[in-house]
Symmetry: C2
DNA sequence: GTGAAAGCGCTAACAA
DNA sequence: TTGTTAGCGCTTTCAC
């Protein structure tokens, strides 16, 4: 019953060649005569051979370096959380000799990105995790990676023509629709809604505009274009015209809800709106930043869409690691579900992440949920 | 820089003993003289030793059998989905020599459970995954496991005094509160709500009653006990008194929402209510069964709380496997987040699970999200 | 009690 | 182009 696994040695024996030759065939490392090849292939076609990856790993005693090309985590808590996930992944993969090297760049400066990207190439990594937030500046980097045969995983922003190993993120358009659905539920005309972008570089980032598009389209479908949707964009914390427009929006008696397009923006908006809350004005934003969960408990924020930066980053590293260590191709589009957090399920999310932070749930062999 | 890892061989060398002795110390397999012990301990305290788990695995060429003691998947789709997750886990862990042996029992028959449990013990497994839905009948089984030092993981129903390796499930009380929150959102008095239990053995299962409790308490808090909540319990598909009560409930003009406490019950309820839907009556149920997602798209079901049976089962196996293979203790309470599925985020969930089913996302080394 | 040595299955260097 | 062999780090058996 407990059929012993079919090993390389068995293949060699069955086909009358040596393990060396079998190995060469299995990995087409060349230097195999046609006749030997044929014999081995024949045996291979008759018996199912599953390589023992554990042994493979131990035998080829090599290690891998993954370069991390993401925005500086000090400039935005979102990236800080993502970084947590990466290091967690590094920890999980430590026995497989995976090492991370980080190359942070400044979120709003293309030049800083280009410098970091150049350094990444210079370091000749075995793989790259990258958030390609600057479209034009990223293309030559991808080109270089292809030439050097360095696999890379896209994070957060998808660039389809990049031919990346995979993309990890969410459907942003749909994310906006979810926000709209939550804001509209049980509401009726006349209605006005606001979309807030806080300190984003909208020029360069389709990210936030995609969300807005989904948001608006859902609202128009639901209220047959009879609801008013205004979009406000704060360019800096001293943006005076924004303040005026926001005050204007908040004072509108028909205002039913406000949607903020980023996680840190959600915190800012909640702070600004704290004193203006009216009963039926809903605030929908992103992510379980500490401040956001507190504002939710205080009743300021009604819904948070969870982007799971930590888990996304974890998966990003894992995709690369699986590819490098096990030659395992990843799913090309890895879209995370759009998880909805409310006051009543908030705890079930927060407690979970606390467990993770305590390292209690750190497995030697990580697990997909 | 690339400091080579500190190996058993190094410890042996540094402390002037053989690798055999070091191994005996590390695993206290006894038969070590005080003086040898001291020397090794000294070296160990000065250098951090991280065993190479990969090598360990290859060296000790052993395999593990995990017994699965869950309800027959043919009797309830929930358990069918759970089974999927288990086999997925088995696949992921195949290189670590983990084998699953299933012992299904009938959901409504204690005796069937007892027979299956006896068979499990007889098979002398290395670990057990169990859904202890019959409280009294399970206790002696736990006792036996302790005596035989067989670790077990609780699934779905928690029994605190069992001293299990871990419990995997959700906070049921809070689950009911989430359902109530969703049903109440934007609603106003006068209001009536229904709780439906379909074909459950309420006698034996705190499971469904916990959900109902959370549901009722939230509603009473929200409407200051001025809303009416009725609980209906169908005992069989031919339960006539249930049909009458349900017709009664549905015809009530103040009915604002109905909550169903199980996944298959949600399907049944949706079928029954299909023709009775009124605009502001919300239907909240459980899980992404095919039928449920279709009823959601059709507008019959408004919210589904995702219990993630597949992922829970996957994690259950992984907890055991990690414990057996890596001696890694699990988090004792592994409560899954209470995920809310709506029409707008449904696709982001369904697409994901399709990827998984296609096996595209099957990693050699599974990953926690 | 202890150490030496033979695996585990695969890789990779080297000699033929 | 091939076969042989010495690892990878740990476990486990078996003499001493």
């Amino acid at each position: 019953m407990e059929k012993k696994n079919f090993r390389i040695k068995d293949i060699a024996h069955a086909s009358g060649v040596s393990v060396g030759t079998v190995d060469r065939v299995l990995h087409n490392r060349g230097k195999v005569s046609a006749v030997a090849l044929k014999k081995v292939m024949e045996v291979l076609s008759k018996n199912e051979y599953k390589p023992n990856l554990i042994a493979r790993l131990l035998g080829s005693n090599r290690s891998y370096r993954i370069a991390i090309l993401l925005p500086d985590p000090d400039q935005d808590p979102y990236w800080g959380i993502a970084r947590l996930g990466m290091f967690q992944a590094e920890n999980e993969w430590q026995h497989y000799n995976i090492k991370l090297v980080t190359f942070p760049f400044e979120m709003l400066h293309k030049h800083s990105f280009e410098k970091a990207a150049a350094k990444v190439l210079e370091s000749r990594p075995d793989g790259v995790l990258i958030a390609p937030i600057f479209y034009h500046e990223t293309l030559p980097f991808f080109e270089a990676c292809h030439q050097k045969k360095i696999p890379f995983v896209l994070f957060n922003t998808n660039i389809k023509e990049s031919k990346a190993l995979c993309f990890i993120g969410q459907d942003l358009y749909q994310s906006g629709r979810v926000a709209a659905e939550l804001i509209c539920m049980g509401q009726s005309l006349p209605a006005k809604f606001g979309v807030l972008h806080v300190d984003e570089d909208l020029e360069d980032s389709v990210h936030f505009l995609e969300k807005e598009k989904g948001f608006k389209e859902y609202i128009n479908e639901t209220f047959e274009s009879k609801a008013d949707v205004v979009s406000l964009n704060r360019t800096s914390s001293s943006d005076f015209s924004f303040k005026k427009k926001l005050a204007n929006l908040v004072s509108d008696p028909h205002l039913k809800g406000v949607f903020v397009s980023s996680s840190h923006g959600t915190t800012t908006a909640a702070t600004l709106l704290k004193n203006h809350r009216k009963n039926n004005v809903r605030l929908v934003g992103y992510d379980l930043l500490k401040e956001n969960t507190e504002y939710m408990k205080d009743g300021i924020i009604d819904f948070l869409i969870h982007q799971k930066p930590q888990q996304q980053a974890f998966l990003g590293i894992s995709c690369l690691a699986n590819y490098l260590v096990f030659k395992k191709e990843a799913v090309h589009m890895n879209l995370f579900p759009l998880e909805i957090v409310t006051r009543q399920n908030l705890d079930s999310y927060v407690k979970l992440s606390e467990q993770k932070e305590n390292g209690q749930n750190v497995t030697y062999k990580p697990v997909i949920i």
